[in-house]
């Protein structure tokens, strides 16, 4: 029998497997996907939000615990657990040497991401390079990695984990277990069930795109909830951003983002604006636009800019729809031309302020316009005009298993001695809503390591108990 069974194959699972292995346990890791899709959403990640008190190799200045905590408090609107959040924050300050030991390499912030140079350590080559490094290290250490192995359920004896049962019926016993199998974002039926019908009689979740893996179907999460594990979070809460509506249904990843929102205006299907596009820098606002678009009719919107914005935002993967007049642009986008012209005329007339500068919070704003645009408000007058369609893109869901600082799964508010949880399956303990870049990897790394260490510790301590020794 294997000591520690890790269910999942992304960052949290790999951190758990490596931690359990380095603590002396034999480890088997079950990845639901085939080898070429391994790593779950971690394939698409790019950095880790890191606390640090002074400049480090790839991080400038300092990002102290308190500032990190305040940032988290702000984006979650207080829907977080301070004890667990601070645990993650402190762990983020000293986990990088451990990551490097297992082959992860860091680099300076990417071009176009200078705003993250202080707070986020970037993985060289991105998340897939990290995943590759961890798998290579796990294999070198003798972790038994099984691909194509989705788990359907687990068997318990009271609060004690006994075995996992795969979807194909195989049963795998282990002395302890770490659940790190992701959220349920790729289960569109579940998303639909959670979001239900809106006031217009639409089912909004059917229009959502999934930014990451197609393998996070939440089968195990559902099983755990149905069999009495304590849960946390709201099923409609997720890391959700506005992405290009032409993105693939799954695995569109980073390149489907649309970064020109603050440079122009965003209109809904009726050709009307609905939110302040210039509220703050895009990296601080992109995470709210997924929900904003989800609340519009048809769950779609369009970012509209003119020629002067080209070259001032990260290049989009799909070309914008281009036209020399607003009427023609509206026709090509399928928007009501008269309304769009009026919306843009009203906006242009309301633009006030001096020098446009997209690199600072400038004083270009609208006056007497509802909703206002508070920065970077410059008239859209220089053809050609461009339109980019936006849809909600779900990165990962926040409904998960309630846990504590030991990463234990809890039943009726009692921790299981040998069943642990890490990653997206418990991120909702810290993220009740909202998101800030690199926090998902910080949670996965911290709790993956805690879960793996505690799973190995359980095995080591139970080995001394006579009835568990092999005769």
């Amino acid at each position: 029998m294997v000591d520690v069974l890790v269910i999942g194959g992304g960052n949290a699972a790999l951190c758990a497997a490596l931690s359990a292995r380095e603590n002396g346990a034999s480890v088997m890791l079950l990845e639901a996907s085939p080898r070429e899709w391994r790593g779950g959403n971690s394939q698409h990640t790019r950095n880790l939000r890191c606390m640090h008190d002074g400049p480090q190799d790839v991080l400038v200045d300092a990002y102290p615990e308190e500032e990190y905590w305040q940032d988290l408090l702000k984006v979650t609107g207080g829907r977080t657990n301070e004890h667990l959040a601070r645990l993650v924050i402190r762990r983020s300050s000293n986990c990088r040497p451990w990551m490097q030991k297992y082959g992860v390499r860091f680099q300076n912030s990417l071009s176009g991401t200078l705003h993250l140079a202080r707070t986020n350590a970037f993985f060289m080559g991105g998340g897939k390079a990290l995943v590759n490094a961890y798998y290579n290290s796990a294999e070198a250490l003798g972790v038994d990695v099984r691909y194509d192995s989705p788990v359907a359920s687990i068997e318990r004896c009271g609060d004690l984990f006994v075995a996992a049962v795969l979807e194909d019926g195989r049963r795998i016993e282990a002395r302890s277990c770490v659940l790190a199998a992701g959220g349920f974002e790729s289960n569109r039926e579940w998303l639909d069930e959670a979001w239900g019908e809106n006031e217009n009689g639409e089912r909004p979740a059917l229009e959502f795109l999934i930014r990451g893996t197609r393998f996070n179907r939440g089968v195990l999460l559902r099983h755990m909830i149905d069999t009495g594990a304590d849960t946390i979070g709201d099923p409609t809460q997720a890391h959700m951003v506005a992405i290009d509506a032409r993105a693939p249904l799954y695995d569109g990843g980073i390149c489907t983002r649309i970064d020109c929102v603050p440079l122009g205006i965003v209109v809904n299907r009726d050709g009307l604006r609905f939110y302040d596009e210039g509220e703050d820098f895009w990296p601080k606002r992109y995470a709210i636009w997924g929900r904003l678009v989800a609340q519009q009719a048809g769950q779609i919107a369009w970012s509209i800019i003119d020629k002067t914005s080209i070259g001032r935002f990260m290049p989009p993967v799909f070309p914008g729809t281009k036209a020399n007049t607003i009427e023609d642009l509206a026709r090509q986008l399928g928007l009501p031309p008269g309304q769009l012209v009026q919306t843009i005329n009203n906006y242009n007339a309301a633009c006030k302020g001096g020098a446009f500068d997209h690199t600072v919070l400038d004083d270009c704003h609208t006056q007497g316009l509802e909703p206002a645009k508070t920065h970077w408000a410059k008239p859209i007058v220089h053809p050609p005009f461009y339109g980019f369609p936006l849809k909600p893109g779900v990165t990962f869901t926040y409904l998960g298993l309630r846990t504590d600082d030991t990463a234990a799964v809890r039943f009726n508010d009692r921790p299981s001695p040998n069943l642990f949880v890490a990653g997206e399956m418990m991120a909702g303990n810290i993220l009740g809503q909202g998101y800030t870049g690199g926090i998902g990897m910080a949670i996965g790394t911290a709790f993956g390591r805690i879960a793996g260490t505690n799973a190995a510790a359980y095995v080591a301590s139970s080995a001394a108990v006579p009835q568990r020794q092999v005769a």
Partner: protein, 394 residues
Amino acid sequence: MSTPYIERQTLGEAAVPVPQAIADIAQLEAEAQRILTICNSCRYCEGFCAVFPAMTRRLDFVKEDIHYLANLCHNCGACLHACQYAAPHEFNVNIPRVLAQVRVKTYSEYAWPRSFGRLYDHNGLAMALATAAGLSLFLLLALALTGSLFHQPLAGNFYAIFPHNLLVLMFGAVFVYALLALGIGVSRYWRGTVQSDQHAAPSAGSVAEASSKALTLKYLDGGHGEGCNERDSHYTLWRRRFHHMTFYGFMLCFAATCVGTLYHYALNWHAPYPVLSLPVMLGTVGGVGLLAGPAGLLWLNIKRHPDHGDQAQHAMDRGFIALLFLVSLTGLLLLILRDTSWMGIWLAIHLGFVMAFFLTMPYGKFAHGFYRTAALLKNAAEKRMPKSLSLGSD
């Protein structure tokens, strides 16, 4: 406020998958443009090499950009293994492959004379070996006809077999032609990839940087210094090491020839030179490098992950590697046998291989060193120009 970016003609709709079988250069460039557009909006690979930072200086990719980036790529494979959009993803991103496919087309497109560019498509292993064998055989027959296939030991005096001036004329002419053809090709390439807005001549700093990057093979170190990918996602420095052995081995052999030429004409000191003389020592050390290096490169080439680079170019790569190896092997054997009655035969065989190497040089893998160095120089110069884009909060 004026826009910092001048819209250029693009090659086609971005991000639309293109079918596998692509031969035509325009189609290849369209496919490269599609993939580069995806990469430029992702940027995760910026730390690996110079190609990705060079992408970020652009918003779209026209022919000149693609030809430049194709030769800047060292085909290390790191970006493929790290790619979230590589197959089986529907975007099917494979930068090393598409740039390798374009790269060989640039050799053809800028070749001098132009009509010889097609030779790159036929410069494979069989061609290399057949040329070498044919030339060796010709020289052997020439010897046999003059009755000196075997001879009394001549104490390594090659010129007793083939007169010195004949060798100089033959090899000198072919070598000069090869350098001329490559030089004209690479200068056409230089002009062809320089945009109208980039006419500044490279500074001394650019030249120094490009030379250093070329001579150290900086971009085979993976960005983290642990090397590039071969069979899988593990990093290894072996390609860089074998390439160094090959390149510096070749340069030592070249130096041996230069020193020998100097001795001959300037000092009137004629071959054969003793084993402990400078030309022979340089040639021997270089020759050993030219055995180990190409052998290692061939081994790595055979073991490479099949998705790296362009499979269709394996024949050209291996033909070049095999010729280098055999030139060195026959040369070292000639050194060993030069005091025996076999010297004439080995000399003919060795000269056959050297001649084959020189003849295939301007239209084969040898070109990569010239074009890549030009791309590195362009990159060094470009980095020193003021930034024209200001994306987001940069």
